[in-house]
Amino acid sequence: MTDAPIAFESSPSLSAAVVRRALVRDTARRSLARRRLAGRVATSLCTVALCISLVPLVALIAYIISRGLPALSGGFLVHTPTPEGIPGNGIGNAIVGTLIIVGLAMAMAVPVGLAASLFVVERPGKLSGALRFAANVLTGAPSIAIGVFAYAVFVVNFGYSGLAGSFALTVLMLPIMLRFNEEAMFTVPADLWEAGLALGSPRARVVRSVVLRSALPGIVTGNLLAMARAIGETAPLIFTIFGSQFFVFRPTSPMSAMPLTIYDNATQAYPDAQQTAWGTALVLMVLVIILSVVARVVAAHLNRKTR
């Protein structure tokens, strides 16, 4: 047994000897029947785990759909909020607010994230290491901390505004994008870099036409997923955008956003407010899911195209 002629190819994790030793020891200690029994017990335990984990997740989805759909009647998606008890309630302003705030945040975060990740990839060194460390710290940082930071920087000086919320979301997305972009660019084979450079093309040109092009699926997916994360975040917005009952298109004024609408309505005791919260939750979730699906489809499409 000790010299079983099995080719253990370079496994990403365990060495062949370790697996073999553990298996041989285990097999020698217990009879086949007992090992089979252990497998059956373990499998049923895992099935129980799956069932337990499905209960809350399915219930969550079911609740959002069943309570959210009734709210979506009439002009829910295009109206502005009405006072309690008056029909015609809507979250049009919150949808517009979310789109503007997140759109502005993307406009700020995508170029900066791309440039910073190019720096990290192209100039390995102390500063790149520090940037990577900062990205690690920031991705793990609680989003409420980013909200308080944006308040201290923006709101204290310029008052509540949609732009302050965009800034907070930018800070939230930047480290995520940096790491996604970096990983995507690292997957570009060194051969391609070298082939480009060997042709005598300038570095900027190689990066633009070779590296960015073949890393594009990863970059697009990563940025879209960062966006999906930012759309659902409440904590960075709660101290920055203040909320508004009207359609606001100017980012320098207080605005509304869907996560904030959910939070504000959830904390009210009126049934209408709760229904608004559920309806908004449904819209928000559909939006997030659409974004993740688009991210996957884009990645798959671009992957096919570049190969």
Partner: protein, 358 residues
């Protein structure tokens, strides 16, 4: 590849023509200019990112300095009482750790069991749809989970779950007092629901990343399927599993809004899991807007942010160290990367990445 060459190429140009030299010089100059622009862009990106990070730290410490100076190190164990000018984080730290512990105790075994089933044991036609579902659930915004916890779970816990737990022998040491619904326990359960998809999705990716050769080797040696799972797959994926738990723990520690909706917001020390409590995050949400700008209380809230940030950085750093640590007796295993799973880089904070590029 042809686009890599200068667009007008050299091939067609007459080698003796004097124009050629001028053209080449122009080309070189343009390339150099592009190179400069590219370098500036790169540096600008790095600079902005670094500036944001430094400003964040400086601003938060600056705003918190008044309260930190007022409280000193005692901030770590004193309570929160603005009436007495006391801005300690002690109660909130206990609340944060308790809720996170409850969330992990609930979510980790269930999550890993589910991941094992989805990755290894279940037939494909069962595993595929559930995997997709779990990955989408990882993208559900936390406010939505909080809303569900507030409106659906709170009454359910008050009338059924908590009275039941009080009757269970042995366990009821942890569960005593009035069943309000909103409690440390409920906050922990809501956090568990929030982090469960993350743990499942990332652990599953880590397990599917274990080399086929490892599994086949086990089967060839006559191992049962479960033996292969427990001796080869799970140990092989343990870095990814640990990373998923660290990430989930970070999210549970830092979640503010969802917790604020369900924990009951009580600034006294919880005496059982059924007591209403507060975490650092929920306390920040509740106290920040109330505190007058420039007051010591405002600074106290920012000090809570600093404490929360410190805890999450510690947890992250601990997680990174754990990932680097090698079990004694194991041979070296290839280059250690920062990524959570062996096959796919994962980014902390973005749980829904699992499987997107696989």
């Amino acid at each position: 590849m042809s686009s890599l060459l200068a667009p007008d190429g050299f091939a067609g140009a007459d080698p003796s023509s004097p124009v050629r030299g001028v053209r080449e010089a122009l080309e070189r100059r343009r390339a150099r200019a592009h190179g400069h622009v590219y370098a500036v862009v790169r540096w600008a990106g790095a600079g902005i990112f670094a500036a944001v990070f430094v400003t964040l730290l400086v601003t938060l410490f600056d705003q918190a300095s008044a309260a930190l100076g007022h409280m000193g190190i005692a901030i770590l164990w004193t309570g929160w009482n603005p009436a007495k000018n006391q801005y300690g984080a002690g109660v909130f730290i206990v609340g944060t750790l308790l809720t996170t512990l409850v969330a992990l105790v609930v979510a980790v075994p269930i999550g890993i069991g589910t991941a094992v089933l989805l990755s290894e044991l279940a037939p494909r036609w069962i595993a595929a749809p559930f995997t997709l579902m779990v990955e989408f659930l990882a993208a559900v915004p936390s406010i939505v989970v909080g809303l569900w916890g507030l409106i659906v779970l709170t009454p359910l816990f008050a009338t059924h779950v908590e009275p039941f737990l009080k009757k269970v022998p042995l366990l009821n040491v942890l569960f005593h007092g009035t069943a309000y619904g909103a409690s440390v326990l409920l906050a922990g359960v809501v956090l568990a629901v929030m982090i469960l998809p993350t743990i499942v999705a990332l652990s599953r990716v880590a397990m599917s990343g274990v080399a086929v050769a490892d599994r086949e080797a086990g089967l060839a040696l006559g191992a049962t399927r479960w033996q292969v799972v427990s001796k080869a797959v799970v140990p092989g994926a343990r870095r990814g599993i640990r990373a998923s738990i660290t990430l989930a723990m970070g999210r549970a520690l830092g979640e503010a809004i969802a917790v604020a909706l369900v924990i009951g917001n009580n600034t006294s020390l919880p005496h059982s899991l059924l007591s209403p409590g507060a975490t650092l995050g929920s306390a920040i949400v509740n106290s920040f807007s109330e505190a007058t700008p420039g007051s010591l209380e405002k600074s106290g809230v920012v000090a809570l942010v600093v404490v929360l940030l410190a805890i999450s950085v510690l947890v992250n750093a601990g997680g990174q160290l754990l990932l680097r640590a090698r079990k004694p007796g194991l041979p070296p295993r290839g280059p250690v990367t920062e990524s959570a799973s062996p096959i796919m880089p994962t980014v902390p904070g973005v749980p829904d990445t699992a499987g997107t590029t696989t």
